[in-house]
């Protein structure tokens, strides 16, 4: 048998003790260790700093929104703003309920379409496709994210809406359905690629265990793999959802931009983002109208945070053993 380290002799216990303790060491080894520890500390500080920075950005944005937004309520009552559907600032009506409901409906509808499709695509990528196809599909899906939203909006306007008009018989098919279809396409890569990673990260030993019990692929995926990846899928859904909530440029091209409650999926209507983007650069800086738009930006954030919390609660309702 080979002698492992002939040069070093085991230290006496006291030596080991003192070398473990922080006693000032000597020579280069100590320097190296000190450096390692120092860099470890520094790195940790950088990480904390970065996290604080991200929070700071959010804080700044909140302040930016809120500082201007609260001025709305100097002229408009809370109840009008939140419970009236009459948005007609030229005539001093500032009811934002239409947009709030629109945002909720649009996000819900988009999630309804995109979650099942995206998760199925993720399963397809992670569990079923041959390797070569996977290597092609992943970058192509990511590519869809890089297509500017105006292109999606343009396609929506020139292809999707005429088609919807044909099948629905409406004169104008702009509205929630068109917007949610465009959004579904836009968030599909986000949800499916992040879920794909989450599913791929599930250790193979779980799959082996399930298959060895005689379960088929459907059972293994739905009962073992997806539950084990549910944390990752949840945050994929959250990121997709937030992207949908915050998307503006494409939505504004297909939703119709009419401040009225939608009585069908094909009625031109408006949501918080579309209304903000249409009007914020078109009104006077210090008008109630402008303040109201900032307030709507703030509400948008509040809604998305509420929805995030809701998704998290839903996710937690199943057991968690990871």
């Amino acid at each position: 048998m080979i002698d492992l380290n002939p040069s070093t002799n085991s230290p006496a216990p006291s030596e080991l003790g003192s070398s473990i303790g922080k006693a000032p060491g000597s020579g280069t080894r100590f320097d190296r260790k000190a450096r390692l520890r120092w860099s470890n500390k520094l790195f940790r500080m950088i990480c904390i700093g970065s996290t604080l920075f991200v929070c700071l950005v959010l804080l700044c944005i909140l302040v930016l929104m809120l500082r201007t937004g609260v001025l709305t309520f100097a002229d408009v009552s809370l109840s009008e703003f939140f419970f009236s559907t009459n948005w007609d600032p030229e005539n001093e009506h500032y009811g934002a309920l239409t947009f709030i409901l629109g945002t909720l409906a649009l996000t819900g509808l988009t999630m309804l379409f995109s979650i099942p499709i995206s998760v199925i695509i993720a399963v397809f990528l992670a569990e079923m496709t041959p390797k070569w196809l996977r290597h092609i599909l992943r970058p192509v899906l990511d590519l869809l994210v890089g297509i500017p939203s105006v292109v999606y909006g343009f396609l929506g306007l020139t292809i999707l809406i005429p088609w919807l008009r044909d099948i629905s018989g409406h004169d104008l098919a702009d509205g929630l359905l068109a917007a949610s279809i465009v959004l579904t396409i836009m968030v599909l890569p986000t949800i499916s690629r992040i879920s794909d990673d989450a599913i791929s990260a599930v250790p193979n030993k779980y799959r082996d265990a399930a298959y060895a019990l005689g379960t088929n692929r459907f059972q293994t995926i739905t009962r073992v793999v997806l539950p084990a990846a549910r944390g990752g899928i949840m945050y994929a859904v959250i990121l997709g959802m937030t992207r949908a909530i915050g998307e503006t440029m494409a939505v504004v091209m297909v939703i119709g931009n009419t401040a009225q409650l939608a009585n069908s999926l094909f009625t031109p209507t408006a949501v918080l983002t579309s209304n903000i983007v249409m009007q914020i650069s078109s009104v006077e800086f210090d008008s109630t109208w402008n303040h109201g738009l900032y307030m709507m930006g703030f509400i948008l954030l509040a809604i998305s945070i509420l929805m995030i919390v809701a998704v998290r609660m839903l996710q937690k309702k199943g057991g968690r053993y990871s």
């Binding site: 306007l157 004169d171 702009d174 078109s282 009104v283 800086f285």
Partner: protein
């Protein structure tokens, strides 16, 4: 002759004037290499507001913002420098049989009183009204000059608003029975410009003063322009530019309507 003018000019405001601004900027920079120009177009009203706030030197706007217009108070202390004449026209989808509308008919259509083409001499089909968003210079001009200041509708199943001239163009092109309005240069063969009160929207009719729906685009500055800004505005107002590039961009020179 390279000039020694230097400095930075920030331009913001109307998107309809943007092609003009960009063209002028690239020509101007050839002669004034030390001048930096950045142009953006967040929307007409943003122009004068940014100037007032001091974050832009020039605010491009489709109306004279130193005077009151419906919906917008005047901007005190800003000087309006006229730069170009723009012509506006009502446009309809090619499937619409109507090719002339009176002011009254336009008012009724855009306020939602008339909802079927047959009421204005067309076939039996619902009218789809496409409007520009509030604050658009095109909208302000069209409302003042084609609708005589009458209000637009703001709701309805067959009513939508679009954000830009490009979206208006695309929407009118692809939506049967649609009517909207647009700057004359954007009119394509895939849509139909409508005569108003029997007068066709052409440059000739503007020059002979029969067609009324046109406006002047302005560069708003804080006080009288100075330095590089002044030089730039003078360049754009120069007859070389007015009769050259500006015409090629299908705007009408200021001098022609004087």
């Amino acid at each position: 002759a390279k000039s020694t003018e230097k400095g930075k000019i920030v331009i913001n405001g109307s998107s309809a004037l943007l092609p003009l601004t960009l063209q002028a900027a690239s020509e101007f920079k050839k002669d004034n290499p030390k001048v930096k120009i950045s142009a953006s177009a967040a929307g007409s009203i943003t122009g004068p507001q940014s100037v007032r706030k001091g974050i832009a030197d020039i605010g491009a706007v489709d109306w004279d913002a130193s005077k009151d217009v419906p919906g917008f108070k005047k901007f005190d202390g800003l000087v309006a420098n006229p730069v170009a004449v723009t012509v506006f026209t009502a446009v309809v989808n090619t499937n619409v049989g109507v090719s002339n509308l009176t002011t009254k008919q336009l008012q009724d259509i855009f306020s939602g009183k008339v909802t079927n083409w047959k009421e204005v001499g067309g076939s039996d089909a619902n009218i789809v009204v496409v409007n520009r968003k509030f604050g658009s210079g095109t909208r302000v001009n069209f409302q003042q000059k084609a609708l005589d200041g009458k209000d637009f509708m703001s709701k309805g199943d067959n009513y939508k608003e679009v954000g830009s001239s490009g979206d208006m163009k695309t929407t009118i092109e692809t939506t049967p029975n649609a009517i909207g309005y647009i700057d004359l240069p954007y009119v394509t063969s895939k849509m139909k410009a409508v005569s108003i009160n029997g007068v066709a929207p052409t440059e000739k009719n503007v020059l002979n003063k029969t067609y009324k729906v046109w406006g002047i685009g302005y560069y708003m500055t804080k006080g009288q322009p100075t330095g590089a800004t002044k030089a730039f505005i003078e360049y754009i107002q120069s007859s070389k530019f007015q009769n050259g590039s500006l015409k090629k961009l299908k705007f009408i020179p200021l001098a022609a309507v004087k």
